[in-house]
Symmetry: C2
Subunit: 476 residues, 2 copies
């Protein structure tokens, strides 16, 4: 911990890895590509879970659990699905000391086994919709991995719903995209662009995929949550049929939507700076850290009872902690800045005498973020400061994103823009055109934003007529 | 749903399976031995989790996540551990389209990979204790499986701690046994006997294992949670060393403790009856179900606004739901009895006129459990009724357990007792004696209770001197 963090501007990737490890969010595990999520990182994930779970339940969803293992034959029932996932599968061939008759896949995602079960459960339109979410672990054998961003095993939620009509299923797909957008913007303080994935970027087996795309601190994009409309693809593969009101057997319409521990990588990369992590108050495991300041025993006896009283006052409504380690205040300041705690509360002999505390904001440098607050009425001041930090962090990230998003007039301009930001441009929607752009610039279509200017234009690459604008960027 | 449930007394095993499926707690999956936990069962599990998680955090533990896959070589580092788990392992041999150099085991429990990581993290006595808990899924390839009770994959929590001294580690092991006891008794309304496992029944790799043992409705025992003191076994296998205050390198002392979805099987079997499930209010996903009662449209318009007002009044402090399905009240009564909802609230035209509601307790038959309560002050009456149900369920289970626990005077008496209950008897502690009892009676030592009468006696089987009493029973 003695060394200074590698500056973000010097080596973004190194900076990221150092933060993850020094803030004790996660660690490398002895199994290639798998990570250990340490208590501080897991507490952050628990807050992500709570923020999402509350929204899922408010929109009528229930949690459930489906098996980790899926028979290999299930994956093969939906052609595009198996093509997409086959290269990344981990396969159990032996169990209980014997070779299995049929190999079992460790779930990369659960559409297939859920399709099988929904086919048993759904009989009539009265059984619909089914609105289920799972919190679990999945495995996709990735070759190049990064803590949180791309790991062979990751934690996520996967929602799986079945509906009587295409309209209902499409509405669900969009509703859950809205839930992700709301969570990202209001809890994670990450401005995201909700949009549709191009044909080549959509989920294996989906009719339409939607995504929320965020700009990281190095101006690359991170796909942060996705929501898929499957039409009747999985319903037909698994024979999920229901007796409609008209007394005829019909296939259901299904959706799925997922958000993973990758979001934590996004939070680090959007908000972090050269001092370390910077957590949005709504998700921070510790919202305020109280640092007692004293130089001798007399001051310590004077300060500590006030520190305890401050902690007690705050602990009902704030996630607060006292740092009573035997270290210098300077060490503690640096340590909690590294760990991204939004607010530091200092209590020294002077504060005790004047009946105040010092509030120091993590998101503002030095004196700019410091204020003296009377202990009377302090709870309100702390809450208000946390709310301001939350909204300022969103504002800051939005300004950065907007300052680095451009609308190219020519393909040459386009190429320059995607070197260092997002390009928003008219695009023909053609798969071949998209592949050429990727080949030439390494930028991909991140999404076709839901918000469109209207009218039509000319494709930025091939010059053919274009009905929609797309966001292009290099991506994680 | 039309058929009546198989009576508990007629075929306990069939009764159990029917409840699990009809109450929609869980379903069989297409993967042998794995189960699907349906929303109602999962909501019950979420309440179990919340009850335990709160207690874990109150005793200073933090949650974290460790990888699903463990290198085969890790398991082999602790001799007894690998011997115990080898026959039950599921093994990943291929991933990403290639054969792995070293097979990966799907975790049956995480001592080994955690031992490896703790060895990286622990440097000095200042890093101790480590108090970490995981909520995850594990796989043990069982041949004979039962929904919740014994499944190839199950959900659980596993706590793993490391300490500077043996005394601290032993105290932690016992503290967590107390936490399990407190949860079982006060939340699940299951009286349990906390005790030590015999040498042959202890966890593979443990110095001492503790357990809470409960009596099911068929008078068989269920091991419902275990807590293990490992001494320095895993510390030595994984070289978890720390620099002590005396500046010398020492091995840490570790513990682990776990409670699984098996607890749900216990809740079903302890409390359930011929009408179905009977859930303790503290864990019930729905604590009170409101059933509107009307025969015509006029009554419906009269009743429904009151039903909604009752729901609203209760919903702040009670998990409450209105059953507004187009079914008869009789159907609904049976359905919610099957699902074990502790309290039914009936609102019909008569209740509207008299400003009352009917409360009907799930745990008391017919008129005995019915009372009329004024709507004014109803919230308090409902809360009080739920508290009474909670304590009466514990009382009922305790009386049943005690009425079926006997102290045999002879081995012949012993044999008769374990045919249909628990035997509490002096036991010599000898492994061979224990094996003979098991061979002859199918009863095993469930535990050596922490509470002992003191003094000494004569072994119920071999007649040798005995220092402790043990509980013997047939077990799940």
């Amino acid at each position: 911990m003695a060394d200074k963090l590698t500056p973000r501007s010097e080596d973004y990737s190194k900076w990221y890895n150092e933060i993850v490890q020094r803030a004790e969010l996660a660690d490398y595990s002895p199994v290639r590509g798998s990570m250990v999520i340490r208590p501080y990182g897991y507490a952050l994930w628990e807050n992500v879970q709570a923020g999402l779970d509350r929204r899922f339940k408010a929109t009528g969803h229930q949690n459930a659990y489906f098996p980790l293992f899926i028979p290999m034959s299930f994956l093969q029932k939906e052609k595009e699905h198996v093509e997409g996932f086959a290269p990344e599968l981990a396969v159990v061939t032996h169990a209980g000391g014997e070779q299995l008759e049929e190999p079992l896949v460790v779930r990369p995602t659960s559409e297939t086994i859920i399709g099988y079960m929904y086919a048993q459960w759904v009989k009539s339109y009265r059984d619909l919709p089914i609105l289920i979410n799972l919190w679990n672990n999945v495995v996709r054998w990735e070759l190049r991995t990064r803590l949180f961003l791309r790991t062979a095993e990751f934690l996520w939620q996967e929602g799986h719903t079945a509906h009587a009509t295409a309209e209902e299923a499409e509405a669900e797909t969009r509703r859950m995209l809205d839930v992700y957008t709301d969570f990202a913007v209001n809890d994670a303080a990450i401005p995201v662009i909700p949009g549709r994935k191009s044909e080549s970027e959509k989920f294996a087996g989906a009719v339409r995929s939607y995504t929320i795309e965020a700009m990281m601190g190095d101006k690359k994009a991170l796909q942060s949550g996705t929501s898929h409309f499957f039409g009747q693809n999985f319903a037909k593969a698994f024979e999920i049929k229901f007796l409609g009101k008209n007394n005829e057997l019909e296939f259901v319409w299904t959706t799925s939507w997922g958000l993973s521990t990758r979001m934590i990588g996004g939070i680090i990369m959007v908000h972090g700076d050269d001092q370390g992590l910077k957590l949005p108050p709504k998700l921070a495991p510790i919202q305020a850290i109280i640092v007692p300041i004293f130089k001798n025993d007399a001051d310590q006896s004077k300060v500590m009872p006030v520190v305890e009283s401050v902690r007690k006052q705050l602990s009902d409504s704030i996630r607060v902690k006292v740092d009573d380690r035997e270290e210098t205040p300077g060490f503690k300041f640096n340590d909690w800045e590294m760990r991204g705690v939004p607010l530091r509360i200092e209590v020294g002999p002077k504060e005790v005498d004047t009946g105040t505390v010092v509030l120091a904001r993590r998101d503002l440098p030095g004196m700019e973020g410091r204020s003296f607050v009377p202990r009377v009425g302090m709870v309100e001041a702390v809450r208000s400061s946390l709310a301001t930090i939350q909204s300022d962090m969103l504002k800051c990230a939005t300004e950065f994103r907007d300052a680095n998003t451009h609308e190219p007039k020519s393909y040459d301009e386009f190429k320059a823009i995607v070197e260092d930001g997002f390009a928003r441009a008219w695009w023909c929607g053609d798969r071949q055109c998209e592949a050429e752009i990727k080949e030439e610039t390494k930028a991909t279509t991140r999404c076709i934003p839901l918000e469109q200017p209207g009218g039509s234009g000319v494709c930025i690459h091939c010059g053919k007529p274009a009905q929609e604008e797309a966001i292009f960027a290099k991506a994680y």
